[in-house]
């Protein structure tokens, strides 16, 4: 549940989601669920729109399993907190 909690803390931030079909979508993270499905608002396709244009699409629900990467705003990530939570989670799983 570590990343679920982490993404909840990032709600409202701008992220770039790179999907497994090589489409990159920039948007505001609206919400996330336990499967790391995400909802993005006010999306734009970042890479030169050679990839499927979604000009008329404003909001998107993205299935977690099709995500390859998410580029996050470095300033909004507390790495120390993440590491501490990660260590706790690693122990809890045992």
């Amino acid at each position: 549940m570590l990343f679920f909690s982490f993404f909840k803390s990032l709600a409202g931030k701008t992220v770039v989601v790179e999907l497994k079909n090589d489409l990159s979508i920039c948007g505001t993270l609206h919400s996330v669920d336990q499967f790391l499905n995400i909802k993005l608002a006010d999306i734009t396709v970042t890479n030169p729109e050679k990839h499927p244009h979604m000009l008329s699409v404003k909001n998107a629900f993205i299935r977690g399993s099709v995500v390859r990467y998410m580029q996050l705003p470095a300033d909004d990530v507390d790495t120390q907190l993440l590491q501490d939570a990660c260590r706790k989670e690693a122990q809890a799983i045992k």
């Binding site: 580029q71 990530v77 990660c86």
Partner: protein
């Protein structure tokens, strides 16, 4: 399995390496090399991971290797493209292996 701290007891639960995932724990906050599917590699500083190998890394360099094959000569041309990303979440289902960075010999 829980460790009860006692007088003179130096070993803590956090330092015991039992499962393969514990090896990754040793690399937290260190630079790591991650091999991904589809001829992609990543080097970055590891900040978090879970049992699915979802990860958060910072100061990431991604290397993507592609092969072009010439139609006539069947010559293989390998191209690599790189990019840098300050903070990246990687979904675990694309991960093949995680390792300390390969040292140049």
């Amino acid at each position: 399995m829980s460790e009860q701290p006692g007088a003179g007891d130096v070993v803590t639960a956090a330092s015991i390496v039992e499962q393969p995932l514990d090896l990754i724990r040793l690399s937290l906050e260190e630079r790591v090399y991650v091999k991904l599917r589809h001829e992609r590699e990543i080097r970055g500083r590891l900040h978090a991971y879970d049992q699915h190998l979802n990860m958060i890394l910072s100061d990431v360099e991604e290397t993507h290797t592609q092969v072009d094959v010439d139609e006539e000569t069947y010559e293989e041309l390998y191209r690599t493209s790189r990019r840098n990303i300050p903070m990246l979440f990687v979904r675990g289902d694309g991960v093949i292996l995680v390792s300390p960075p390969v040292r140049a010999t």
